[in-house]
């Protein structure tokens, strides 16, 4: 007797596994920390640790990417290549500041947040996908760019859109190890 099996799309499965695991992790963090703000910080830290290594993987697999000279280039590569490669989505770049030192990424379908409902006590404080901010911050730091990366809206919170604001802070000089001239 042949088993009737719903078409197993590997991308779907991979995405589900990731979002389920991430969701369980966030739930655990909410149990461990009383304050959802602390959870935000922890997610950012975890993301940072991931980002500082993920950038190598990214650069190794996108030989066409050259050193960016403008924030606009960074935004383009981040969305069209970085997000696409690792999360399978392409956020929209919007809301450039007049001085071009700040922009937003708008995510229309967040794979991390599928089937997720925020518990009421953290509806206004938790940034569920904050790990993404950490990843961006960590990755860009490794290419000598210091940025501030924060969520400014999340549909999980009832906001109109899921939006990350990225603000350029400064170029990081290569720092010499202690003991060298």
């Amino acid at each position: 007797m042949s088993r009737s099996r719903s078409a197993v799309d590997p991308k779907r499965v991979s995405s589900e596994l990731f979002s389920l695991t991430y969701g369980c992790m966030v739930a655990q963090l909410l149990k461990d920390f009383e304050n959802p703000e602390e959870v935000n910080k922890q997610l950012d830290t975890m993301g940072y640790n991931i980002g500082v290594r993920l950038i190598d993987d990214f650069l190794a697999h996108t030989p066409s990417v050259t050193r960016c000279t403008t924030l606009e280039e960074v935004a383009e590569i981040l969305c069209k290549q970085g997000f696409k490669m690792f999360l399978g989505i392409v956020p929209e770049v919007r809301n450039w500041s007049a001085s071009k030192d700040k922009f937003s990424l708008v995510i229309s379908e967040n794979p991390l947040a599928e089937y997720v409902e925020l518990p009421p006590h953290c509806q206004d404080t938790l940034w569920y996908s904050n790990i993404i901010c950490g990843v961006i911050r960590g990755a860009l730091e490794m290419v000598q760019m210091d940025v501030k990366c924060t969520f400014v809206g999340d549909t999980l919170r009832g906001n109109d859109s899921t939006e990350i604001e990225i603000k350029f802070v400064k170029i990081l000089e290569d720092s010499l190890p202690a003991g060298e001239d």
Partner: protein, 159 residues
């Protein structure tokens, strides 16, 4: 195949960060338990979703085979390499290149840490089996990394 490698990289990184988090926040001796519990919830939900449109497999052996083939495929995009049974309720699933270990150093001194990287998967298997209505104890052995043997012991001996 390319896209998968990149997604795997992200998942493995998350998995690794989870191990580190539990180690710091709960202590090194709690990591296995924490990762297993988390894995359990994931495994339970995965099977819930994956089998809701399917006719449920019924025989114990079929369930274990599902774990070796389908669940392993969901986790690692490959099937387990070997399945053995003593026909009295114990099954041993073998994976010769257990992915979460392939990026952990293979040297002897890291054998203890190896357990930390197998715990989540054991939890997933346990949760999956629970959803199938087949509670088992699940343990893992790493004799020679990255080969892992996962032993399932049925909690109710087969009739």
């Amino acid at each position: 195949k390319q896209w998968y490698q990149r997604r795997v990289r992200v998942f493995d990184s998350l998995h690794h960060q989870m191990v580190l988090y539990f180690e710091t926040a709960h202590g090194p001796d709690q990591v296995v338990q924490c990762m297993e519990k988390l894995g359990y919830r994931v495994g339970f939900s995965l099977i819930e979703k994956a089998t809701k449109d399917e006719a449920r497999v019924k025989e114990d052996v079929d369930i274990v085979k599902y774990i070796c083939k389908d669940l392993w495929n969901m986790l690692f995009r490959k099937q387990a390499d070997n399945l053995k049974t003593n026909h009295t309720g114990t099954f041993v699933i073998q994976d010769n290149r257990f992915r979460f270990l392939t990026r952990v150093s293979q040297s002897e001194q890291y054998k203890q840490r190896g357990e930390l990287y197998v715990a989540f998967t054991c939890g997933v298997v346990k949760g999956a089996l629970a959803n199938f209505g087949l509670p088992c104890s699940v343990t893992a052995e790493i004799d020679m990394s990255p080969t892992v043997k996962v032993t399932l012991t049925l909690q109710q001996p087969p009739i």
